[in-house]
């Protein structure tokens, strides 16, 4: 009973075919929402778009959005692939905390905190443990048939406890310039975190679209029964996406802890899984699996981060912040919903006089037989 996604777009009077093609593009609505938010900011803060060079790197609100959005982009990236397989990964927030905690703990207790080898070990440790977490999630889902929401819930809850155990409930501060680079450093005047996120997005989209991985993931998510009958090894794919998701979360965790040079087992990545799911949905990937859009997810994550920044610059009182966020998100979801748009335009159309459509077709009838 699902109507084709572009219900009613076929005969909207008075709209050029070019415009229709534009609004029909899957990235149109997330991009439009992002543009609206950014323009709204410019209207309120005139130098919002201003980017200048300071201390040898770019400096401005846009740069902030990118930098703080980078971890969310990464988490959402992995989440997109998981959701495309009809799954969901609730454990990413805990993975963020564990990765940051492991890396900082390692660096803080190392003999030579500043050295490159310490850094490499710290990163390898964090990513390795995250991969193990992803493997566990993937095996629970693919081999034991546990529902993804349940399988990953286990680590969502327990994982934060693990992170607290690693940090002993404390906030671990580290002073390693090399580690600071990951989330807070700059390279070629740009925040390194942004470059890292961009690189990972590029690699992921190359791997999914240049190999058959993307198509097979969409197939498994779109119709698991048919995918089995067509000979796709779904188990391997599922494990792969959960591992990828956890690794993305780990890199995000490194970024978040590196940015403030400290690991906070309690608060790092708290609720980021929900923001990531929202980013994926805003980006136009359905929670029911199947077709996914990495570009849309990046836009979705940027929408969420821009919204946060907007709240800070706008001076929305903290008591009403959540209401404000909720309203924007509701509007975004409504605008994205084809059903809602169709209903809106139908209302507009019925208000206008009914077009005398089809009248000319009567003469085209051949062999009309009146009973």
């Amino acid at each position: 009973m699902t109507p084709p996604d572009d219900t009613g777009a076929g005969a909207r009077p008075g709209r050029a075919p070019g415009a229709r093609r534009l609004t029909g593009h899957r990235l149109f609505w997330p991009a439009a929402v992002l543009a609206t938010l950014l323009l709204g900011n410019v209207a309120l803060t005139h130098d919002f778009f201003a980017v200048r060079v300071q201390n040898g790197h770019l400096y401005g609100s846009l740069i902030d959005i990118l930098q703080f959005g980078a971890p969310l982009i990464l988490v959402s990236l992995g989440m997109t692939l998981v959701i495309a397989t009809r799954g969901i990964d609730l454990s990413v927030g805990s993975t963020v905390a564990i990765a940051g905690a492991l890396a900082c703990e390692h660096i803080a207790t190392a003999e030579d905190p500043g050295s490159l080898s310490t850094l490499t070990t710290a990163i390898a440790l964090a990513v390795g443990v995250a991969a193990a977490i992803g493997l566990l999630n993937g095996l629970l889902v693919a081999r034991l048939g546990v529902q993804p929401i349940v399988a990953t819930l286990v680590l969502m809850v327990a994982g934060r406890g693990v992170a607290q155990l690693i940090t002993d409930g404390q906030i671990i501060s580290v002073s390693s310039a090399a580690y600071k680079m990951i989330g807070g450093g700059y390279w070629l005047t740009l925040p390194f975190a942004v470059l890292l996120a961009a690189a990972l997005v590029a690699v992921t989209s190359l791997v999914t679209r240049r190999t058959a991985l993307g198509m097979l993931i969409e197939s498994v998510g779109g119709n698991p029964v048919a995918s089995r009958l067509v000979g796709i090894r779904a188990a391997g794919l599922l494990v792969t996406v959960y591992v990828l998701s956890a690794v993305c979360a780990a890199v995000a965790g490194l970024m978040i802890s590196s940015n403030v040079s400290s690991a906070d087992g309690n608060n790092a990545g708290l609720w980021i899984e929900l923001d990531a799911i929202l980013a994926v949905v805003i980006g136009g990937t359905a929670l029911t699996g199947g077709r996914f859009s990495l570009g849309g997810t990046v836009l979705g994550a940027l929408v969420i981060q821009t919204l946060s920044t907007t709240i800070y610059t706008l001076g929305v009182p903290p008591e009403t912040t959540l209401v404000f966020k909720a309203l924007v998100v509701i509007v975004v979801c409504l605008v994205q919903s084809p059903v809602f748009r169709a209903r809106l335009s139908r209302r507009r159309r019925t208000a206008a006089p009914e077009p005398a459509a089809g009248a000319g077709d009567l003469t085209a009838r051949r062999q009309e037989v009146h009973p």
Partner: protein, 520 residues
């Protein structure tokens, strides 16, 4: 299709109960309907005919409020209506039974019939009344069903009947039946027709969509024919013959007509070489609860038909040969060597292909494109690390779209927007691309139009001639006889006979085997 026009009630006069004018409907990449008209009068059975992709299903969805039309009007009792959703159409007295059963398998028969309008007492569901009312409706239909059983306990055919009972219970002025008979056996069809006639006599207007010509001549009063999304014409059945009706449907494609006229079965074609090691050999292959142990040899170039009633174990037998289900007893040899099919993947590696009867649920990935659906099996076999290049995919998709005449000829169209016959062709293309040595076709022609059906039948013959083994499952005995070298007959989850298709094999003999289990 040679059924003589039966005497019928006088064609209804007066105002149409349902009228559509100038309906236009487009989906991304497909203009499904372009200025179509339809009139339904009270007390008539009206056939809606057309080839696959002609727009029959879309028109029904517009009439029943599933899709709003892009242009045109739908009137009920003379008043223009705009249905935003199916429920509104239902309230206006238009009930629909779709081709694919849309019920809840885990609810009981009674709940399925009355869901949404359960009798209530003190605000709670009055279960006793619910079961009583459902049972009464079932009896009216002369069916024998326990209404408390979950729907999933019944065969697809019975589920279809339940869907009809559900639609009938709504006080309908118009009953739309979309391919209701494609999964019913003869007795069930007769049962259904009896009910349809009773409803007609009560003044209900029935819109009947089917591919079976003889059913149209048996049951209907008038017919509206669509072609390529346009109205071809509206006719009285008694003014038509099967041949002229087909002519209206397919237009100038007279070669197809010739083939249809040829009613003799070509089962006497040169038999393949059956000496030596068969491609596949099953001995005592079984799965508890789904199919009794059976033996079957399939040679290269051989077409084996599987006949039997719905639920007789035809599909279940085939699924074991594809590893879709695990056999829990017996032995399977491929090229004479023992093989254990753990999964479809293993079977595919042995060059076996399987087109499921359930295209939507088990075959296609609806939101992927035609191109992606076609290359999927080949790509799955290669693994994700060895992708087919986009150029290669485009070339494959273009070639198969042309070879099988898939319409629209747009490899980038979403496959769920295609009509049933074209979807079937996409599935065929997918498997032919893997160059299978055994092709298992489960009801490949069900619910698709005559043109596509003939093409698929011809394709089966050609594949066999080229050395492919084919296992052909169909409820239509004529079709099985026309194509097969040997016919396996199933009855109550048991392969009761494997009959060579010589001149002595007739539909009656097969029916006898199905009915009694005896082969004489």
């Amino acid at each position: 299709m040679t059924a003589p026009p039966t005497p019928r009630t006088p064609t209804p006069a007066g105002r149409p109960v349902l009228e559509a004018r100038g309906i236009r409907k487009a989906f991304p990449g497909v203009l499904a309907l372009d200025g179509v008209d339809l009139r339904l009068f009270p007390g008539e059975v009206h056939a809606l005919m057309g080839e696959n992709g002609a727009g029959k299903s879309t028109l029904i969805k517009v009439l029943t409020g599933v899709h709003p039309p892009d242009a045109g009007t739908v009137s009920v009792d003379g008043g223009p209506r705009r249905f935003a959703q199916p429920l509104e159409a239902q309230h206006a007295g238009i009930s629909t039974v779709y081709q694919e059963v849309n019920l809840c398998p885990n609810l009981s028969v009674a709940e399925n019939i009355l869901v949404g309008r359960e009798p209530r007492r003190f605000g709670l569901v009055h279960w006793k009344a619910l079961h009583r009312r459902a049972a009464r409706l079932i009896t009216e239909l002369e069916l024998d069903l326990d209404v408390r059983m979950p729907l999933s306990a019944h065969s697809l055919a019975v589920q279809q009947l339940v869907a009809i009972v559900r639609a009938v219970d709504v006080q309908a002025k118009v009953l739309v039946l979309d391919e209701p008979t494609s999964s019913l056996d003869r007795d069930e069809v007769a049962q259904l027709f009896a009910l349809v006639r009773r409803l007609r006599d009560r003044g209900v207007a029935i819109l009947f969509v089917t591919h079976f010509l003889d059913q149209v001549f048996d049951l209907c009063d008038r017919v509206t024919v669509l072609r390529n999304g346009r109205l071809e014409g509206e006719y009285r059945i008694d003014e038509l013959t099967p041949v002229t009706l087909v002519h209206h449907m397919v237009g100038s494609e007279l070669s197809t007509l010739d083939e249809l006229a040829e009613t003799s079965r070509p089962g006497t074609a040169a038999a393949p070489e059956t000496a030596g090691t068969p491609f596949l050999s099953a001995r005592g292959l079984t799965r508890a609860g789904s199919i009794e142990p059976y033996d079957l040899d399939i040679h290269r170039g051989e077409v084996i038909g599987l006949a039997g009633l719905l639920g007789s174990g035809r599909t279940e037998a085939a699924r074991l040969l594809f590893g879709a289900d695990h056999a829990d007893g017996g032995e399977l040899r491929i090229h004479g060597e023992r093989a254990v099919l753990r999964s479809p993947r293993t079977a595919i590696a042995h060059k076996i292909a399987f087109c499921s009867e359930n295209r939507k649920a088990e075959g296609l990935i609806g939101e992927l494109t035609v191109r992606e659906n076609i290359v999927l099996a080949l790509q799955a076999a290669r693994g994700w690390t060895r992708p087919l290049s986009r150029a290669r995919q485009d070339e494959i998709a273009a070639r198969w779209t042309e070879v099988l005449d898939i319409r629209p000829a747009d490899p980038e169209a979403q496959v769920r927007n295609l009509s049933g016959g074209n979807q079937q062709k996409v599935l065929l293309a997918r498997w032919l691309l893997t160059d299978p040595e055994l092709l298992i076709l489960d009801e490949p022609t069900r619910g698709i139009d005559i043109g596509a059906k003939t093409e698929i039948q011809r394709l089966v013959g050609r594949l066999a001639a080229e050395g492919t083994a084919v296992l052909f499952i169909s409820a239509e005995l004529e079709e099985v006889l026309r194509l097969s070298h040997r016919v396996g007959v199933l009855r109550d989850h048991r392969l009761v006979a494997t009959l060579p298709n010589d001149t002595t094999l007739t539909p009656d003999r097969i029916l006898g085997a199905i009915a009694t289990g005896a082969t004489s």
